[in-house]
Every structure is written in structure tokens, then in C-alpha cells.
């Protein structure tokens, strides 16, 4: 298979998986799920590390390092804040808490 077509195949299949896996999410989990998905796209850190590791000019290096800091914030911060949101689901069950806190605004 041509490599462009192979990547397109992966993309299309991932779209279907992405729709399918969250189709039965309960309303109380909307915000934590968004936060968890947000942390997952922090994996752009992988790309940021690759481009910084190949940097040849000062501009490339500087931009790459900024990208690494931002991506790390996204990934590490994202997983930690999601875990804190979910603490309340594991102990006493207070469903609706997250949802009402923000929708009340």
C-alpha cells in the first residue's frame, strides 16, 4: 500500500473508533471526558521533541523548546487535573457536581 494511502486508512479508521468509544458517555462525565481527551492530545509532545532534537538553527531550537514546554503543560497538567475531577466519582458518589458547577455560570 502506498504510504499516503496507509496513513489515510489509519486516519479514517481512527475517526470511527473515536465516535464509537464515547457514544455511551453519561452526562455527568462530559467534563472529565473532555479533560481526559484534552490530556491525550498533549501527546503532541512527541512531535515537539522530534523537531527540537533535529533543530539546526537558533530559531528552530527556540521555537521547538517553547513547543515542548507548552505540550508538557497540556499533557501532564491535563492528566493531573482530570484525576482530580474524577476523585469525587471514586469516593462518595456525587454525580452532577462538575456539570452544575460550570453550567450555573
Amino acid at each position: 500500500m502506498d504510504s499516503g494511502v496507509a496513513l489515510l486508512t489509519i486516519f479514517v479508521l481512527a475517526v470511527f473508533v473515536g465516535f464509537e468509544v464515547i457514544s455511551k458517555v453519561s452526562t455527568t462525565l462530559h467534563t472529565p471526558l473532555m479533560s481526559g481527551a484534552n490530556a491525550i492530545h498533549g501527546v503532541i509532545l512527541v512531535g515537539a521533541i522530534i523537531i527540537t532534537g533535529r533543530a539546526e538553527t537558533g530559531v528552530e531550537l527556540g521555537l521547538g523548546l517553547v513547543a515542548i514546554v507548552l505540550a508538557t503543560l497540556n499533557m501532564v497538567g491535563g492528566f493531573v487535573v482530570t484525576d482530580r475531577m474524577l476523585e469525587m466519582f471514586s469516593g462518595r458518589r456525587r454525580p452532577g457536581q462538575v456539570e452544575t458547577e460550570e453550567t450555573r455560570r
Partner: protein
């Protein structure tokens, strides 16, 4: 090599399992940990497999991001969590845009059109996601008013900026010039601000969710530019599930996504 691709496959499966587990209250917390494990594995693989220059600087930058991110996420009050998520989402979009710009600077201009198209897409959507998320952060943090901000003639400013962004995108695709790319990034940053300013406070979480899906798609596109399958899978998963989640959230609140977004461009503006 093969084991790198296998490790990326394991990380991708971790992300799928994480999203699935996050959809049900019993397994949600465990699911988040599985996602984190996948991310750590992915970063470990990069360090093990790539020949990286500037290694001390790279590790220093990761340490800096961690030292800022963990305390912020630990100390934030429950009520302030949505704006922190918005902030984290925005910086992710910014990171994706920067990755694409650096890749654009490196590549000489005999590039494939498809790769250039993916680069332009990443820069535009990543910048919109970055600046848009910063505005949602400012709204939720009440740094600016949570009420819709409708500029005089806002509709025409919005349409004008969107048209300018499109023209600059075409200019980059045709000429491949760096100044055009810089202007494109700036125009997209302004566009992100203009799209989110007119959104009312109650609708902001839905917009954050939408920008989250946008960032996912930019990560997928930059994965295509870099030829990295894990970024494609992870980004697409978030892009697709984030789009569906945005619709579900809007439905739960009895709102329509197009109304929220394009209410900005109608004369009356949304009812807040």
C-alpha cells in the same frame, strides 16, 4: 524500526481504552491513568529511538512544563477547573502550530502539496484553538466579562478576517514563503479571538469542547507532516470523540452548536 511502531501501537490502544473507560463512572479514574501510561510510553519511545541533539535543553523544557503544570492542576479549585482545561487545551494547540511552523522552516520548497496542506491546516486551526482557548480562559476566570462581546460591525470584521486567513493560506500554498506563513499565523490568532468573543458565559464549556476537538485534529495533521502514526491516531481519536462530545454537551444543555458559533456573525447576537 518494528519495535518502535509496536510501542506506538500499544500507546494508541492505551488511548482508546482510556476514552472508553472515561465514559463510565466506575472506570473513569482508572481510564485516565491508562491514558497517562500511554503518553509516558510514547515519550519514552521517542527518547529511546530518535537520535536527539540538544538533549539537556529538551529535558529542561519538559521539567519546566511539569513544574508549572502539576502545581497548577493540583491547587486549582473545583470551580476553576474548566478554565484550566481551556488553558491546557490552548497551549496544546499552540504547540501543534509551532511544530508545523518549524517543520515548514526546515523543509525546502520542493515539498508534496499534501504535506504543505496539512502544515497550513495545523497552523491555522492550532492558532485559532490557542487564541480562542485563551479568550475562554479569560471569560471563565472573569478577567473579561462573561457576557457576549459583540463589536460594532463585528460580523464584517469576522468575515473579513476569515477571508484574509483563507487568502494567506493560499499564498503560503502557492509561494511557500516564510513571511506569508508568519502573517497567516497572526491572522489565525486574531480569528480565534473574534470567534470566541461573542459567545456567552453559559455556552463557553461547549466552545472549549469544540476547540479541544480542533486541537486533536491539528495534532493528527502534524502527525501526517512528521510521518508519525501515533500522533495521527491520538489526534484523530480526540478530534472525532471531541466533535461527538461537543454535540452531546450542546444537546444536554438544549443548545445548537452552529447557533453558538455563528450567533456571533448574525446581527442580533446570541441571547446569552
Amino acid at each position: 524500526s518494528a519495535w518502535v511502531d509496536l510501542a506506538y501501537l500499544v500507546a494508541a490502544v492505551c488511548f482508546i481504552v482510556a476514552l472508553k473507560a472515561l465514559s463510565s463512572p466506575k472506570s473513569a479514574r482508572w481510564g485516565n491513568l491508562v491514558g497517562a501510561a500511554g503518553a509516558v510510553l510514547a515519550v519514552g519511545v521517542v527518547f529511546a529511538s530518535e537520535r536527539l541533539d540538544h538533549l539537556p535543553l529538551i529535558i529542561g523544557a519538559i521539567a519546566l512544563g511539569t513544574l508549572c503544570g502539576v502545581p497548577a492542576a493540583r491547587r486549582v479549585k473545583m470551580t476553576a477547573m474548566p478554565q484550566l482545561v481551556a488553558l491546557f487545551n490552548g497551549v496544546g494547540g499552540g504547540a501543534a502550530a509551532i511544530v508545523a511552523i518549524v517543520e515548514f522552516l526546515r523543509a525546502s520548497h520542493g515539498e508534496l502539496l499534501a504535506a504543505l496542506l496539512a502544515t497550513v491546516f495545523t497552523v491555522v486551526v492550532g492558532c485559532v484553538s490557542f487564541s480562542g482557548s485563551m479568550v475562554t480562559f479569560a471569560k471563565l476566570q472573569e478577567l473579561i466579562t462573561t457576557r457576549p462581546i459583540v463589536l460594532p460591525g463585528g460580523r464584517w470584521i469576522g468575515i473579513g478576517t476569515a477571508a484574509l486567513t483563507l487568502l494567506l493560506a493560499i499564498a503560503v500554498l502557492v509561494t511557500g514563503l516564510t513571511p506569508a506563513m508568519v502573517l497567516l499565523a497572526l491572522a489565525a490568532l486574531v480569528l480565534g479571538v473574534l470567534v470566541v468573543l461573542p459567545v456567552g458565559g453559559a455556552d463557553v464549556p461547549i466552545v472549549i469542547s469544540l476547540l479541544n476537538a480542533f486541537t486533536g485534529l491539528t495534532v493528527a495533521a502534524s502527525g501526517y507532516v512528521l510521518g508519525n502514526t501515533l500522533l495521527i491516531v491520538a489526534g484523530t481519536l480526540v478530534g472525532a470523540s471531541g466533535t461527538l462530545l461537543t454535540r452531546l454537551m450542546a444537546q444536554a444543555m438544549g443548545r445548537s452548536v452552529t447557533n453558538i458559533l455563528f450567533g456571533a456573525f448574525t446581527a442580533a447576537g446570541p441571547g446569552g
